[in-house]
């Protein structure tokens, strides 16, 4: 068996750059999500972004031409609108909730969102579109032009993250104490909108569940070792790079070896899970070594 690494590089370097960009930005947002303790907000936002996209395809596309590129801006617009709507809902509910946790409301709305997506596709019939939104389609990336909208959207999110870094970090670090003020609702909506824009563009390429994995797993790996964002970011970038490189290579190796045709997305996620397990074991081992020295 000879693995042609040059071929793997030639075929995947654009997908790798995309994964690195998405993973790094989502990883940064993930550090905020962990500090806020609302882990599942992103999977819920991603699900509603998917619903927006699916609805747009049905409303604006002619029958039988469901994947026309002319309608892509409309699909993104509908996705982002759905996300902003649900973000406003969460920001307002967080202010008024009392008997029930925000996580419970997020959990319930996520399940309702998933069922609604299944419901819509059952009524209109577009199984492959939903599968694409859930699992993504990295194999479809041919050139940098096809990921340009995603690069521009992520560029805008990065600019917002730099400009508004201070207030967003302040709220994330004091999340429970800050819920009464009206300005906090504004910053909450801004944060969720940033996440929504990133998610809306990311799910087209990597799917709902991979968005969640990129958002939470690298941030958890980094949080195992440090609480400072400055040191967390290199760990996030490294974890994303290693997982994406190996995950993108797996389908090629599987095809060369067993003639199996595999999707790329799930293997990147599984690789990130493996890196997390190794990181947790390293953390436990280092902890024991430090304790035994004392």
């Amino acid at each position: 068996m000879i693995i042609d690494f040059q071929l793997i590089y030639q075929e995947n370097h654009i997908a790798f750059c995309l994964c690195l960009m998405i993973g790094t930005v989502l990883g940064y947002l993930g550090t905020h999500v962990l500090r806020r303790g609302v882990v599942f907000i992103d999977i819920s936002l991603a699900q509603f972004a998917a619903i927006g996209g699916i609805l747009a395809e049905h409303i604006f596309c002619e029958h039988g031409h469901s994947h026309s590129h002319e309608n892509e801006p409309l699909a993104y617009f509908c996705s982002i609108s759905a996300v902003i709507l649900i973000a406003v809902f969460y920001a307002v509910v967080r202010k008024y909730k009392k008997n029930i946790s925000l996580e419970a409301i997020i959990g319930v709305t996520y399940a309702i969102g998933f069922a609604t997506a299944v419901f819509i596709i059952s009524i209109f019939g577009s199984q492959e579109l939903h599968a694409e939104r859930v699992a993504g389609d990295l194999n479809a990336i041919m050139d940098f032009g096809s990921i340009m909208p995603c690069i521009m959207a992520f560029g805008a999110v990065v600019i917002c993250a730099i400009v508004f870094h201070k207030p967003l970090t302040h709220i994330s670090n004091n999340y429970e104490l800050k819920k009464e003020s009206i300005s906090v609702i504004f910053w909450d909506i801004l944060f969720y909108t940033m996440m929504g824009v990133a998610i809306s563009y990311a799910i087209v390429h990597i799917g709902v569940v991979m968005v969640f994995v990129y958002l939470v797993v690298p941030a958890v790996i980094a949080s195992l070792f440090t609480t400072k964002l400055l040191f967390q970011m290199p760990i996030i970038v490294l974890a994303v790079a290693v997982a994406s490189m190996i995950g993108l290579s797996v389908p090629y190796i599987a095809y060369d070896t067993w003639k199996l045709e595999l999707s790329t997305g799930p293997h990147i996620g599984l690789m990130l899970g493996l890196i997390l397990i190794v990181a947790a074991l390293v953390k436990v081992a280092v902890g024991h070594i430090v304790l035994s020295k004392r």
């Binding site: 946790s101 419970a104 959990g107 309702i112 609604t116």
Partner: protein, 295 residues
């Protein structure tokens, strides 16, 4: 006019929903009060992983040996998967404040979801199998399954009733419980067992909604365990019954044509949930004449 076959079908479905909702609402109340919201989704997805793993390992197209989603052997694999998941849920409690327990639960869900996708990806018709575990199949409901479900749920209800003080203490004062990890494991395992029975029929997301939505609605209105259980069960049963009738298009209306089973039930329960949220917003909770909150 309903035929006797249709009446039999509805009786079977309604009995199954009624039985399932009792234990699901009760365990859902625990899950919400302990803020382990996605633990059930993680266990549901693990049960689906067990089922799919069993099919991938044991099916052989060459010999014609095809394992179906609801074959008895799939329940054994699913039990193995949820037992492992329950153990992990009970044992892994991050000490760092920066890593919430929900993050661990979320990662378990996402990894098992991706693992389901990965193992079915190379299989012929794997996409349909994967989709089947997400949506469930109404046709899997038989009187045999209903009987087994009723017996298992009754046993679990008796178990939870006998040890209710320990389980309630886990939700209200976890530091007072001796061997908390063992009781945590038993709690998650009982949650996992009900998951195994419901996932092939209802699918991962309806199974999760069955557990969360009635309990979430009840939590908004009632604090006491008994009244919350009764309210959650009643609202859940009404919503599910309407959803069942709509998906079967019992009123023979064009509007309800092709409504899928499990997602229709979820959508109906979702409408009830949003209505409950709205009611709470219009009529806020009051304590000693002071408005305390809306949800």
């Amino acid at each position: 006019m309903l035929t006797s076959e249709a009446v039999n079908f509805f009786l079977m479905q309604l009995l199954l929903i009624a039985v399932v909702l009792i234990l699901h609402t009760y365990i859902g109340l625990h899950v919400i009060r302990r803020t382990l919201i996605f633990s059930d989704l993680a266990l549901d997805q693990l049960a689906a992983f067990g089922i799919l793993l069993c099919i991938v390992i044991n099916s052989n197209e060459g010999t014609g040996n095809i394992v179906r989603l609801n074959d008895p052997i799939t329940y054994i694999y699913a039990l193995g998967a949820v037992t492992f998941g329950s153990f992990l849920l009970a044992v892994i409690k991050p000490k760092s404040k920066n890593i919430p327990r929900e993050a661990v639960i979320g990662i378990m869900f996402a990894i098992s979801f991706l693992a389901c996708f990965a193992i079915t990806d190379p299989v012929n018709g794997g996409g349909m199998l994967f989709d089947g575990t997400l949506k469930g199949d109404l046709d899997f409901v038989t009187w045999g399954l209903v009987k087994v479900t009723v017996i298992v749920y009754l046993l679990l209800l008796v178990f939870h009733y006998i040890f209710r003080k320990r389980f309630i203490a886990l939700a209200e004062n976890p530091e007072t419980v001796k061997n908390a990890k063992l009781w945590d494991f038993l709690f998650f395992l009982s949650q996992g067992i009900i998951t195994i029975l419901i996932v092939p029929v209802a699918g991962v997301f309806l199974a999760y909604v069955f557990l969360m939505l009635p309990a979430a609605m009840a939590t908004m209105f009632k604090k006491e365990w008994k009244s919350a259980l009764l309210l959650g069960w009643s609202l859940g049963f009404i919503a599910c019954t309407l959803g069942l009738f709509a998906s079967y298009n019992i009123w023979d209306l064009r509007f309800f044509e092709n409504w899928p089973y499990s997602s229709t039930l979820v959508v109906f329960m979702g409408v009830f949930f949003l209505a409950a949220l709205l009611v709470r917003c219009i009529k806020p909770l009051r304590t000693n004449g002071k408005i305390k909150g809306t949800c």
